[in-house]
């Protein structure tokens, strides 16, 4: 136990501290931008990033993963904040945490692996599109200088890493362009116009909401959506970090950890968050492996805010927008275009449907749920295909059944038989099939009954042992599975 703690915390101290610092620098602009998306003060996102990162460094299941305020979560909160205000958001954040802990305890988090990849791809794509769309109002219709600044920011963040590798390019863009704006006295919208920065540590307080069923009814749908989306992105990120580091992680522990982090952040005035793909990749690439890197990221972030808070409010909005456009480009799955052409039709359809539903409803959870339902239907339709071949051997009629026999395929099964024959020997072979439920047994019964009405004799063969058990248990014809059933 102590040995493992030592390994998870202190086996990579130097690289963890450096990587954590790099991540903190990259986290600040995102935390501010996501607060603006959610419609709250920048401090709500910054406090959330600080508290979630520090909490998850202790209780998370995936060392080296970065969790903080995220775009996916921010997008889900927009209507709640607009209609009911910050206190309701904090209450919803706490409830989100409780739901996530329950998901972890009851191992529901494990079910997340059943989310098909088409839905996952649709999820990251629609996330990128929504975050991008949220940036447009900040620059559209503003001055020419605004457009120019966005462009310069993009040039810096994409070209500079070719030459300067140690300092993150977005930070250089922020410092350089904020300095230029201040020095030249350019009049432009800055972060401070959208909310203030408090240069202090967060306080503990209980959200000022009425504790009644009405309040719960308001926040519950948001909390459930936040809990699902948060876990989905966190577990996806955990798999990516697992893959990058070639190690395994505890997914149920991670769900419970995400829950605890959200509960604590809610009581300290932070918005709900989850794991971040982009930041976790930055962390691993910068050498971060242990829990220390996540801890340092959170701590360093709040220190920077306390020290440089009055400069942060001077960051021009176009620079922040430029950085967020880079984040969107990085989030979007560009191989989706190949995927659309090469994946099975139904998968491509599910992916597109997920994206379209999210973009139309501005709700990631709706797209995901619709995507999962669609793929389930497609899956059932696919395996419900049943193939029946008929051949005549020595004047006996043989049917070979191929495919899964269950509620969705019984209709095709029954339709395939011609019940007009009289006084024949009929053999139905199930060796390429499997019987799944009582509607399948009912269908077999029905087929036998119909044939017997015309004095045919029916024989069933080739049932595998589980199918046989089910048939014996449920059939209304005794000894149906015997060698020969005579009339």
């Amino acid at each position: 136990m102590l040995e493992r703690m030592k390994k998870e915390w202190f086996s990579n101290v130097r690289a963890d501290i450096l990587a954590g610092a790099v991540v903190a620098l990259a986290l600040i602009p995102e935390a501010i931008a996501f607060s603006i998306i959610a419609g709250v003060d920048p401090m709500v996102g910054l406090y959330a990033s600080f508290i979630i990162a520090v909490t998850i460094s202790f209780v998370g299941g995936r060392p080296g993963m970065i969790s903080a305020a995220t775009g996916a979560m921010a997008l889900l909160m927009v209507p709640l904040v607009k209609e009911h205000g910050l206190d309701y958001l904090l209450a919803a954040t706490i409830l989100t945490g409780i739901i996530q802990i329950l998901f972890g305890v009851f191992k529901i988090a494990k079910l997340m692996k059943f989310i098909p990849r088409a839905v996952m791809i649709g999820f990251v794509n629609s996330l990128a599109i929504l975050v991008f769309m949220a940036q447009v109002p900040h620059i559209l219709g503003e001055s020419m200088v605004t457009y120019l600044f966005v462009l310069i920011t993009l040039v810096i963040v994409y070209m500079l890493p070719r030459f300067v590798k140690t300092i993150p390019a977005p930070l250089i863009a922020i410092i350089a362009l904020t300095a230029v704006t201040l020095y030249a006295g350019i009049d432009m919208k800055v972060v401070g116009d959208l909310g203030g920065i408090t240069r202090s540590l967060p306080d503990f307080f209980i959200p000022n909401v009425p504790f009644n069923l009405e309040m719960l009814a308001i926040i519950f749908p948001y909390s459930i959506a936040l809990a699902i989306v948060g876990l989905m992105e966190s577990l996806l990120t955990a798999s990516i970090v697992d893959d990058m580091t070639g190690t395994d992680s505890n997914k149920n522990k991670e769900s419970k950890g995400q829950g605890m982090a959200n509960i604590i952040t809610g009581f300290f005035g932070g918005m709900a968050g989850c794991a971040m793909i982009g930041q976790s990749v930055i962390n691993v690439k910068s050498g971060g492996r242990g829990r220390l890197s996540t801890f340092v990221a959170g701590l360093f972030l709040i220190l920077l805010i306390i020290i440089f808070g009055n400069l942060v409010v001077q960051i021009p909005m176009p620079v922040l927008v430029g950085i967020m456009i880079m984040v969107c480009i990085g989030t979007f799955d560009w191989s989706s275009f190949t995927y659309l052409r090469k994946a099975p039709r139904t998968d491509a359809f599910v992916m597109l449907a997920t994206v379209i539903i999210v973009v139309a409803t501005h709700d990631l959870s709706k797209g995901v749920i619709a995507g999962v339902i669609l793929s389930t239907i497609f899956f059932v339709a696919k395996i419900a295909k049943i193939n029946i071949t008929e051949k005549v051997i020595n004047s006996n009629i043989h049917f070979d059944i191929e495919g899964q026999l269950f509620f969705a395929s019984v209709e095709d099964f029954i339709d395939a038989f011609d019940f007009t024959v009289i006084e024949k020997n009929i053999v139905i072979n199930f060796s390429e099939s499997h019987i799944w439920d009582d509607s399948a047994v009912g269908a077999i019964d029905k087929v036998i009954m119909k044939y017997r009405e015309n004095n045919n004799s029916v024989m069933i063969e080739g049932l595998d042992s589980t199918s046989k058990k089910l048939v014996e248990k449920l059939t209304i014809y005794p000894a149906l599975t015997g060698s020969k059933t005579s009339t």
């Binding site: 990849r117 791809i121 798999s239 990516i240 893959d243 990058m244 990749v281 691993v284 690439k285 191989s335």
Partner: protein, 139 residues
Amino acid sequence: MYEKLLLAVDGSENSLRAANEAVKIASLNHQCQIEIVYVVDYSKSKNDILHAQGKEELEFSRRKKLTPVEELFSSKNITYKVSILRGEPGPTIITYVNANGYDLVIIGSRGLNSLQEMVLGSVSHKIVKRVNCPVLIVK
């Protein structure tokens, strides 16, 4: 003669050509030990996870990229070892080579033009510059 060889493979045509040259060199000396190295690229991890059905399928598909090379070696009865590393391909191979010491590193060249090289960066070029042993680039 070369005894400890490292063959860097990425599953492409070029790395298969490099493997062919490695076979020629290895068959000169039956004491020769050859190590096939494949680097799981950090920047592809997100994409790979997103498009894979699960962990096992992903591992299998990566392993499958190495099968043509492995088949080549086993058909010539050359003993080999496979190592899968993680990181940025260039620097990861360089650190690995310099830490373990090889007589020769064999690598395929992607054959990029100068523009692509500026944008993507040439892995083989980086390796030539920074490893402490002879390098054979196969084009």
